[in-house]
């Protein structure tokens, strides 16, 4: 296949769209990991719940896409906080791996229940009428909705980064990660903060779910395989910084997009191959601190 610039730029743009999802998901994982020291294996399941939530809002309550963009993350976020309060809380002080195992179990339960009630082939969710159609960019036909996904995800990622790195609340958050006892001494309710952080991370995943509902079929297993790719993204980026996970998410989307053009057969494995290469050179990941 000859390389043509228009086709290449089209693939780059498409890669960026995928990168938006990776960025949102790995950002949520990084936020949770920073605060709770837990790798949230249920992240794919809550992503799926976000998409389902949007579907229910539309088909039961008649609430459209735009409100769902706000409501679904809040609803799923509350669900996440309940999960944290009732279960994850009891693992404080234990080996981090127990958190991984617990959330793995939770993911199985959530996905299994959705599968039982809604079947495996999924449910339809239409693109909101405002974002239907597309525009001709000269080198490709870009569906407007795809453009919206990139913009929305970028805004949310940067807002989250700002909230954590540049605001007072974020400062408490970061301090509580370093030394919870000290922060408590300042009169701050650390457990509540942990719960809220978990809710935030889960909410980000749910937002990604709502964003993807019009593109991908709303299926119970839609997050099951995606989560492993996101894990690889997280390993590559390192858990060191919020910005790191955002940038890694977007760049891997682009790398994947390029692979789809040059050697499509490898597009599902390229992220993992890249992970191996990074680990051989920089074991702590691209932005991570050595542990």
């Amino acid at each position: 296949m000859s390389i043509s610039l228009p086709a290449l730029s089209a693939q780059l743009l498409v890669g960026l769209i995928n990168g938006s999802f990776y960025a949102l998901l790995s950002l949520g994982l990084a936020v949770i990991f920073g605060m709770l020291n837990i790798i949230n294996f249920a992240h794919g399941a809550v992503y799926m719940m976000g998409a389902f939530c949007a579907y229910f809002l539309l088909n039961i309550f008649g609430i459209g896409y735009w409100p769902a963009l706000i409501i679904a993350p809040i609803v799923v976020g509350i669900f996440g906080m309940v999960m944290e309060r009732t279960m994850l809380k009891w693992l404080t002080g234990l080996d981090h791996l127990y958190g991984l195992l617990l959330t793995f179990g939770l993911a199985l339960i959530i996905q299994g229940i959705f599968q039982n009630y809604f079947g495996s082939s999924g449910l339809p969710y239409a693109i909101p009428s405002e974002l239907q159609g597309g525009m001709n960019l000269g080198f490709m036909f870009l569906p407007i909705y795809r453009g919206w996904v990139i913009v929305c995800s970028l805004v949310v990622c940067i807002a989250t980064w700002y909230a954590i790195e540049r605001t007072r609340l974020g400062a408490y958050l970061r301090a509580a990660t370093e030394n919870p006892t000290l922060v408590r001494a300042f009169g701050i309710n650390v457990p509540r903060m942990i719960t809220l952080t978990y809710g935030l991370g889960v909410g980000l995943a749910a937002l990604a779910g709502v964003l993807s509902a019009p593109i991908n079929q709303v299926r119970p297993l839609m997050g099951a395989d995606l989560i492993i790719v996101v894990f690889a993204v997280v390993v590559i980026g390192g858990m060191g910084s919020i910005m790191g996970s955002i940038i890694t998410g977007f760049s891997l989307g682009i790398i994947e997009g390029l692979t789809k053009y040059f050697y499509p057969e490898a597009s599902n494995t390229v992220v993992f191959v890249f992970m191996v290469l990074v680990l051989l050179v920089k074991p702590a990941g691209l932005t991570g601190r050595a542990t």
């Binding site: 498409v14 082939s121 693109i127």
Partner: protein
């Protein structure tokens, strides 16, 4: 304890049969529905296959003739290991006579070996692999409903005839996808069409836009989707987003079921072409069955061709048993009888079971309706072509099945 009781029962049964004059009057049958109840394929088989088997037992009228039919079911979780484990246990200890549905090719090929070894019966409805009646054929297996060869032929030739003579394939990058692409390519070329190219996408790709852009750029009249399940539904949904069908290209789903189209909705799926051997809204017989079926299912879904195949296949099995007069508990013998009598049921019409185990009946090419044409939730297809049974499946002259003598 249990053994003593069964020994006693056996003794009594023997006494009775001797007294009755005929030695073999065993009229007990046990059916096992082995399917995916929890995974990816649970909508096209799953609970519906169990319901279809129950209905077949009730509708067969075997009870009135003195037969006692039991039904067991299990979830193979799409794992060949679990499936063969259950199959062995069912055949060895539970004395199951026939395994029905057995969807998913990997599972079906594994169970195929067990069933042959134990001289039982597999009545396959859900698996796609045409190898079941080709190199892997056995005297114990019947592949009733459909296979990939048929799908490729029906869709490929009918679409070229309808003017879709240039093709581009979006292929799932593994054995199944390659086979489907190669089969269809051969058919398209034989019918005078041209294949402009293909792109291989890994399994479980979430985003098909890159591939769809390439398909769009090829300017082919037909984009053949040689993939399955979630890959197919996602690629169709995203094709609608990129305006591929609106731009004049046609999509052909090479392996799709009613449940997939229903879950996509007509807005997205309209204009799609696909082949099936059964659709609920074909005639009075299919409508009557489907209505009863949907009422019994929790989700009220209309039957897929896999469900229909379980039902019709079991009816035919009962017919063979009835002709034999008693259950010989000999898989190969019953299957031979099933191949001997022609099939005739309200769902697939008149047909036969070929020597290689292939169920023969017509294949239909459908187009998915526009939302404006549809009169109900399941009013999804319009018929645009029929391939007669003797042309739809792999001809025996090309068969590598050892049972076929050339």
């Amino acid at each position: 304890m249990k053994n003593t009781i069964s020994a006693l029962l056996l003794g009594t049964a023997l006494a009775f049969s001797v007294a009755g004059g005929a030695f073999a009057q065993d009229k007990n049958v046990k059916i096992g529905v082995l399917t995916d109840l929890s995974g990816l394929y649970s909508d096209l088989g799953g609970q519906g296959s169990i319901v279809a088997a129950e209905m077949a037992i009730e509708d067969s009228g075997m009870k009135a003739k003195g037969w006692k039919i039991d039904l067991v079911s299990a979830d193979h979780q799409n794992k060949p290991d679990i499936a063969t484990g259950i199959a062995r246990r069912w055949i060895d200890t539970d004395k199951v006579d026939i395994l029905a549905d057995v969807l998913n090719s990997g599972v079906a090929l594994a169970v195929n070996n067990v069933v042959k070894e134990k001289n039982s019966i597999m009545l396959n409805s859900g698996a796609g692999s045409s190898e079941l009646t080709n190199t892997q054929c056995t005297p114990n297996t019947i592949h009733f409903t459909y296979d990939t060869y048929m799908l490729a032929h029906s869709t490929g030739s009918a679409m070229v005839k309808a003017g879709g003579d240039t093709w581009f394939f979006l292929t799932a990058d593994y054995a199944f996808g390659h086979a489907l692409e190669n089969d269809t390519t051969a058919v398209v070329k034989a019918a005078g069409g041209k294949v402009l190219g293909s792109v291989k996408a890994p399994l479980n790709t979430a985003d098909f836009s890159s591939y769809l852009l390439q398909a769009q750029a090829s300017k082919a009249k037909v984009i053949g989707l040689a993939n399955a399940g979630g890959d197919t539904t996602n690629s169709i949904k995203q094709a609608a987003e990129f305006g591929i069908v609106k731009g004049g290209q046609k999509l052909a789903g090479l392996l799709m079921f009613l449940s997939d189209v229903h879950s996509l909705g007509l807005n997205v799926a309209q204009g799609l072409n696909l082949s099936e051997t059964f659709y609920w809204d074909m005639n009075d017989g299919t409508r009557a069955f489907s209505k009863r079926f949907a009422e019994r299912l929790k989700t009220h879904a209309m039957p897929t061709m896999v469900h229909a195949g379980v039902y019709a296949g079991l009816l035919h099995y009962f017919k063979a048993l009835d002709a034999l007069g008693s259950n010989p508990h000999d898989g190969a013998k019953v299957v031979a009888k099933m191949k001997e009598i022609p099939t005739d049921d309200p769902l697939f019409g008149k047909g036969s079971i070929r020597i290689d185990g292939r169920g023969i009946h017509p294949a239909y090419l459908f187009e998915v309706k526009k939302p404006s044409e549809s009169k109900g939730e399941y009013d999804l297809y319009k018929l645009i072509g029929t391939t007669p049974g003797d042309q739809a499946f792999r001809p025996l002259s090309e068969s590598k099945c050892p049972l076929v003598k050339h």
